[in-house]
C-alpha cells in the first residue's frame, strides 16, 4: 500500500449500492432515439459525415476527427438520422449532435479495418480516456519521448462509481490484453496495474493474470483523488510530474481500465467505441451497472433502474466529486459518462455559506499543495496575475478544497473559472 501524495480526503464511498451488481446490458427497442454528441472528447469536435434522413449502420462512422487532437464518432445503433442539432450537455450546456431513430435494435456494430498501424486503429475506433478526462487515446499513444512505465489506472477513487470495478472483475482478461497491446506496440519496459485497496476482488483477479502476462499489480491506499494522474504516478512510482507537463515528461503514460478494454475490443474484435458501462445509483429504486449505447438519454437509464426514490433534486453525470450536474434527463450518455447519480434534497449537503474562517482545512486537503483559501481571495478580486503566481494552473479541479470547507465556499468553482482567465494572461505573455 502506498500513498505518496499529500492531502486528499476520505469521503463516504457509497460503493456498496452497486458493487455487487453485475453489468447488465441495457435493452433497446425499435423507434427509440439516441442522440450522439459530436464533441465527446477534449480537442476539436468531430465533423459530421451524415445528413438528415440518411440510413446509418451500428458502428458506422458518423463524425470524423478534425485535426490531431480530436477523434471519430460512430453510430451506436442502426437507424435513420432524424435530425442534426443541439443536444444537452452537462459540460457546455449545448453541443452539436446527431439524433438517430433505431430501426434494428438487434444489430451489432460494423467492424472497423484493423489492418493498420496501432495508433490508427485506435483513432479509427474513436477511443478516448474513459476515466472522465476524454483525452483522445491515439494522441496519448504517440508519445514524443521514451516511456519506461505504463500504469493502468484502476483506482476508481470517485465515491459511488463501480463501473470500472465491475469491468475489472468481469472483463479482467480483456483489460489485461488491451493493456499488454499498448505495452507491446509502444515497447514500454514495465506495466503496473494500480487498484485501490477497497477493491480486493479486482486486485485478486488481476493477480491471477500477472504471472502469465508479466505485469505488476499495485495495491493503493483508498484515498481520494488517488486516481488523479499526477497522484497515481507519485503513489506508484514516487515520480513528480512537473507543473504544466504531461506524465510522459517522467517517462510514464497512464490509461484507465475501461480505455484498455476499449483498446482490446478495437484491436482484437474491430469494434469501434459505441458503448460503455455506466453506474446508475443514488436515489433510484434499483441501482445498477449498465452497459449503455452512447447517445442514450439519461432518463432511460433511470427508468430501467425502477425510477426515482422520492423527489429527485439533482442529477450528477460522472462522479460526485468531479461530475457535472445536469438540469435535464434528456442529456445523452457520452464516452465520458461513468455514472448517473440521483440525489434527493435530503441527500444533498447543506451549502449554507459563511465568510472564510481561515481554518486551513483546504490547505491540508489539497493534493497539489495549493492554498485555496488565499487563492479564492485573488479569484474574487480578479487578481489573475496573483492567481498565476500561486500556481492555479497546477489545480487538478479534484474538489477536495470545496469538500472540506466548513464555510461552504465554492473554492474549486472559482479556480475552474479563474484558470480560463489565467490561461489568457499566459497566452498574452507568450505573444509578446
Amino acid at each position: 500500500m502506498t500513498n505518496g501524495f499529500i492531502g486528499g480526503i476520505h469521503p463516504d464511498y457509497k460503493k456498496t449500492l452497486t458493487e455487487n451488481k453485475p453489468i447488465e446490458k441495457l435493452p433497446y427497442e425499435k423507434d427509440e432515439i439516441v442522440s450522439i454528441p459530436l464533441n465527446q472528447h477534449i480537442g476539436a469536435p468531430a465533423q459530421e459525415l451524415v445528413k438528415k434522413k440518411e440510413q446509418v449502420l451500428c458502428g458506422q462512422k458518423i463524425g470524423a476527427g478534425k485535426g490531431f487532437i480530436s477523434t471519430n464518432i460512430h453510430s451506436s445503433v442502426t437507424g435513420e438520422v432524424v435530425s442534426i442539432g443541439n443536444l444537452n450537455s452537462p459540460l457546455t450546456g449545448k453541443v452539436k449532435g446527431i439524433n438517430i431513430k433505431i430501426t434494428n435494435p438487434e444489430d451489432s456494430p460494423k467492424k472497423i479495418d484493423t489492418n493498420k498501424k496501432f495508433q490508427d486503429i485506435i483513432l479509427e475506433a474513436g477511443i478516448v480516456g474513459m476515466g472522465g478526462a476524454t483525452f483522445p487515446t491515439h494522441v496519448k499513444l504517440s508519445p514524443p519521448k521514451k516511456i519506461d512505465t505504463l500504469i493502468i489506472n484502476g483506482a476508481e477513487c470517485e465515491p459511488f462509481l463501480t463501473c470500472d470495478y465491475r469491468l475489472m472483475i468481469e472483463s479482467t482478461e480483456e483489460i489485461v490484453k488491451g493493456a499488454k497491446a499498448i505495452q507491446e506496440k509502444l515497447k514500454i519496459a514495465n506495466m503496473i496495474i494500480a487498484v485501490e485497496d477497497n477493491k480486493p476482488d479486482a486486485i485478486k483477479a488481476f493477480r491471477e493474470f500477472s504471472k502469465g502476462f508479466d505485469f505488476k499489480v499495485q495495491e493503493l491506499e483508498t484515498v481520494y483523488p488517488q486516481g488523479g494522474e499526477k497522484q497515481l504516478i507519485l503513489s506508484v512510482l514516487g515520480r513528480i510530474v512537473p507543473e504544466g507537463k504531461l506524465p510522459l515528461e517522467v517517462g510514464v503514460i497512464v490509461h484507465n481500465v475501461a480505455t484498455c478494454k476499449a483498446v482490446y475490443d478495437a484491436v482484437e474484435n474491430g469494434l469501434p467505441l459505441t458503448e460503455r458501462v455506466v453506474t446508475v445509483t443514488g436515489a433510484v429504486k434499483e441501482p445498477k451497472n449498465l452497459l449503455v449505447k452512447i447517445g442514450t438519454p439519461v432518463s432511460k437509464l433511470i427508468d430501467i433502474c425502477g425510477g426515482y426514490v422520492g423527489e429527485p433534486e439533482k442529477i450528477v453525470i460522472g462522479g460526485p466529486m468531479m461530475g457535472f450536474s445536469t438540469n435535464t434527463t434528456d442529456t445523452p450518455v457520452s464516452k465520458a459518462t461513468s455514472g448517473v447519480i440521483v440525489f434527493r434534497q435530503e441527500d444533498l449537503p447543506s451549502l449554507k455559506m459563511t465568510n472564510c474562517i481561515r481554518c486551513g482545512r483546504c490547505v491540508t486537503a489539497c493534493p497539489m499543495g495549493l492554498v485555496p483559501a488565499i487563492m479564492e481571495q485573488f479569484a474574487i478580486s480578479e487578481l489573475y496575475e496573483r492567481l498565476l503566481d500561486w500556481h492555479v494552473l497546477n489545480c487538478i479541479e479534484c474538489g477536495c478544497c470545496s469538500y472540506v470547507c466548513p464555510a461552504r465556499r465554492p473554492l474549486v468553482g472559482y479556480f475552474k473559472t479563474g484558470k480560463r482567465q489565467v490561461m489568457n494572461i499566459v497566452k498574452e505573455r507568450e505573444n509578446k
Binding site: I6, I9, P11, D12, K230, L234, I240, V241, P242, E243, Y308, P312, E313, K314, I315, V316, M321, G323, S325, T326, N327, T328, T329, D330, I341, P349, S350, L351, K352, T354, N355, C356, I357, R358, C359, G360, R361, V363, T364, P367, M368, G369, L370, V371, A373, W390, H391, N394, G399, S402, Y403, V404, C405, P406, A407, R408, P410, V412, G413, K416
Partner: protein, 330 residues
Amino acid sequence: MSKNKFLVTFSPHIRDSLQTDKVMLNVIYALIPAIAVSIYYFGFFALKTYILTIIFTLAFEALFLKIRGRRITLDDNSALVTAILLAMNLPPNSPWWLILIGSFIAIVVGKQVFGGLGQNPFNPALVARVFLLISWPAQMTSWIKPTPIIENFNFDSVSAATPLSQAKTELISNGKIITDFSDFPAYFLGNIGGSLGEISAIALILGGLYLIYKKIISWHIPVSYLLSFLLIVMPYWLFFPDKSLSPFIHLFTGGLMLGAFFMATDMVTSPITKKGQIIFGIGCGVLTAVIRLFGGYPEGVSFAILLMNAFVPLIDYYIRPKSLGEAEKV
C-alpha cells in the same frame, strides 16, 4: 413524470459534514472543563460574568450586523465563542460596565469594523482585554481568592494576587522573588487567583487536546508556542533562580494555556499553513517569555498573540507551501 429541471451547481456534489457553526460549537465544548472549574472556584461571580458577557456580545453582534445591513448570523456561533473567551479573560468580579465596554470593543472594534466573521486581523477577545487592561488597570487586575463552591457559595470576595503579579511586584520592589511559590498542584488544578478562564491549566489542556483530536485545531501552534516559551524561561531560571519563577509555574499559571490552546489558535487570526503556524507559535512563545521576564507587565500572553496576529498576513504571503511539481522560479 417528475419535474425536468434539476439543481445545477459546481462540483463537488458531496461535502464533509463539518460546517462553520459546528467548528465554533466544538470550541465551546472544549471550553466546558475550564468553564466548570471557574464556576467551581468563583461561583456567583463566574456565572454573572459569563451571562453578562454573552448577552452584551450577542446584542452588539446582532445590532452591528443590522446596522451594516447584513443577515443576523448569530447562528454561526462565532460571537458566542468570542463572548466566552472574553469572559475568561476578565477578572471574576468585573463590574457590569467593564463587561459592556469589553463586549463593545471585542465585537464592534475587534470584528465588525473589519467586515465581520473571518475578516478581523486581531483576536477580538484579546483586543478587548488589552483595551480594558490599559484603560482600567485597577479593575482588570483586582483578583479574588478562589473558594470552592461546595465550601461556601458566598457573594463576598476576598482579594488575592496571581502568582505572576505577586512575583513581579516583589521583583520590582525587592530586586528578587521572596515568596515560595511551590504549591504546584494548586496551580495546575486551578486553585489560584486569575482571570476566569485561565486558572486551571489541566482543564485547558484537556479542552485543547479535544480540539486537536477533533481536528478543529492542529498541534502546531500550541506545541511551538509552549516549547519556544520554555526554551527561554528555562535557561533564564537556571541562571537567575531568584529573579524568575520556575518554568513550571510559568507554564501553568497566567494566561499561557488559555492563550496557547484557545487564543493563538483562533483560525481567523493565525496563519493558514502548518509551517506558518509554527513560525507564529514561536513568535508568540518568544514574545510572551520576553514580556513576562523583562517587561513591566506580569503577563504577556495577550500582547504577544496580538503582536503576532499583525504578522499573519505577511507569514501567509511568504510561507506558501511548494506546489506539487512546481517549477523553480527563474
